[in-house]
């Protein structure tokens, strides 16, 4: 019995300490994908941090890259691109490759945002990858919550028209009329 217990412990330790080392590595670059356009190589010299390596959960990297396109994109140099950054750091301007699982998709002025608690991300294509830039919370910057008649699911994000329920009732997804934009807080996360 004791022997089998210690084997279990050893295995557990191996999982605990062996696992993270897999993720410690990163891709430092990739193969050039064309002959005629001689730009990749120059960019490559500036890029050391490209993207997370996650051998076990490859799908964590969405949008991916085509033929190494990701790996030359200077977006990667703009900020540390790590999975942990999502949890620990929400510095405005920092860039991550994924957002936490329970975020809400919000459309503002026709563009998609992800609200994850108090942190707001703007998704974007960086090259052919999808990345998420931490932006100033739209609540602090533009949201106005002083009208209790405004349903929480549909809040005015600028100062014009916030006290006009008839506009609110008409607002469905994105409405932008007379400078008024509306948030449509959806449950869906946006990823499929």
């Amino acid at each position: 019995m004791k022997t089998s217990m210690s084997i279990v412990i050893v295995v557990v330790i191996a999982i605990l300490f062996g696992g993270p080392s897999l993720q410690a590595q990163r891709y430092r670059g990739g193969a050039r994908t064309n002959v005629n356009h001689n730009v990749n190589v120059n960019r490559n010299t500036n890029v050391n941090v490209n993207r997370n390596v996650n051998v076990n959960v490859h799908g964590g990297y969405y949008g991916g890259y085509y033929g190494g396109g990701c790996c030359y994109h200077p977006v990667a140099t703009a900020a540390a691109v790590t999975a942990t950054a999502v949890v620990t750091a929400a510095v405005v301007g920092s860039i991550v490759h994924s957002v936490p699982p329970s975020c809400t998709s919000v459309i503002v002025n026709g563009l998609a945002y992800q609200q994850c608690g108090s942190t707001w991300y703007q998704p974007q294509f960086s090259g052919t990858s999808t990345t998420y830039v931490v932006v100033n919370p739209l609540d602090d910057r533009r949201l106005k919550r002083n009208d209790p008649s405004v349903p929480r699911s549909m809040e005015c994000i600028c100062t014009i028209g916030c006290n006009r329920p008839e506009l609110i009732s008409r607002a469905a997804n994105l409405v932008d009329e007379g400078g008024t934009a509306w948030l449509d807080r959806r449950d869906s996360h946006g990823r499929s």
Partner: protein, 289 residues
């Protein structure tokens, strides 16, 4: 040593042309090629100013440029430019390199329909996603079906200009972009430092001629269909700037009479697909981290 066309120049491969003409570089010929090149280099070095002979010393291990290989490349480029529309299915592999130098291979498929000079549609499928590129002569759209986002930007009037724009401005290397660029850029020819005809080789059962080229940053090989349709059927590029030498390959299946309608090149967002920006490269340089 008399040259048939030009007087001898400082370039090693120029002066060695006469000696190599017609050789196939199969097997043992490689060694003799090197010897000829070396002799030519020595001869060239004696004639040339020191700066140029220093440049030659860098390339002393590279094969010479065979005119036949360059001609084949040129003829392929000329032929590609005669195609008004085409469809290409590509099986692609790409190596990425881990920090410790290990190469990791990824596979993808690309389906390209192009109507030159100003429309294309590309569908790319790989482990990470399912992406589309649309270009209708006015706008370029990238659509990621997995994330359900798309980004649209105004586009220049031709595929050739768009390809440059995408790369320089947005960091997007258009899949299979070489197909639009062979023979259009004289700089690309001048970058070639070695060109060898390897010999006949079959790709998917079709007989091709296999050529190998050397440049400063890449070694690349191309398989060009023999006969009246000199199409590239396979391309392999090995990157030399990383010591792991990651390689990219594409194997192409051609359809020279594709059916399509003009709507195929314009992106209409399906319901629920959300728009996001396409980040510009320059904007990123402002950020500091």
């Amino acid at each position: 040593m008399s040259s048939p066309k030009k007087p001898p120049t400082c370039s090693g491969y120029e002066t060695s042309r006469g000696g190599q003409h017609g050789s196939t570089a199969r097997g043992g010929h490689n060694k003799s090629l090197l010897h000829v090149s070396a002799l030519a280099l020595i001869a060239g070095a004696a004639l040339c100013v020191p700066a140029k002979s220093a440049a030659q010393a860098d390339s002393k291990n590279t094969p010479a440029i065979e005119p036949g290989a360059m001609d084949a490349l040129n003829q392929m480029g000329v032929y590609l430019r005669t195609l008004k529309s085409f469809q290409v299915l590509a099986n692609i592999t790409t190596d990425d390199v881990l920090d410790d130098g290990q190469t990791i291979q990824f596979s993808s498929k690309a389906d390209l329909v192009a109507a030159r000079p100003d429309r294309f549609r590309v569908e790319v499928t790989d482990d990470d996603g399912h992406r589309f590129f649309f270009y209708d002569g006015k706008n370029f759209t990238i659509y990621g079906q997995v994330v359900n986002y798309y980004a649209t930007v105004p586009a220049p009037p031709t595929i050739a200009k768009l390809t440059d724009d995408l790369s320089d401005k947005y960091g997007i290397e258009l899949p299979l972009s070489d197909l639009f660029q062979w023979g259009t850029d004289s700089d690309a020819i001048h970058r070639i430092k070695g060109a060898v005809d390897i010999g006949p080789s079959a790709v998917n059962g079709i007989t091709c001629e296999h050529y190998a080229f050397h440049e400063k940053d890449i070694d690349w090989q191309i398989w060009i269909e023999l006969g009246e349709f000199p199409l590239p059927l396979k391309l392999a590029i090995r990157t030399l700037t990383d010591e792991a030498k990651p390689q990219y390959t594409e194997t192409l299946t051609w359809n020279l009479a594709p059916s399509y309608n003009d709507d195929a090149f314009t992106f209409v967002p399906p319901p629920g697909v959300e728009r996001v920006p396409l980040a510009e490269l320059k904007a990123k340089s402002n950020e500091k981290k």
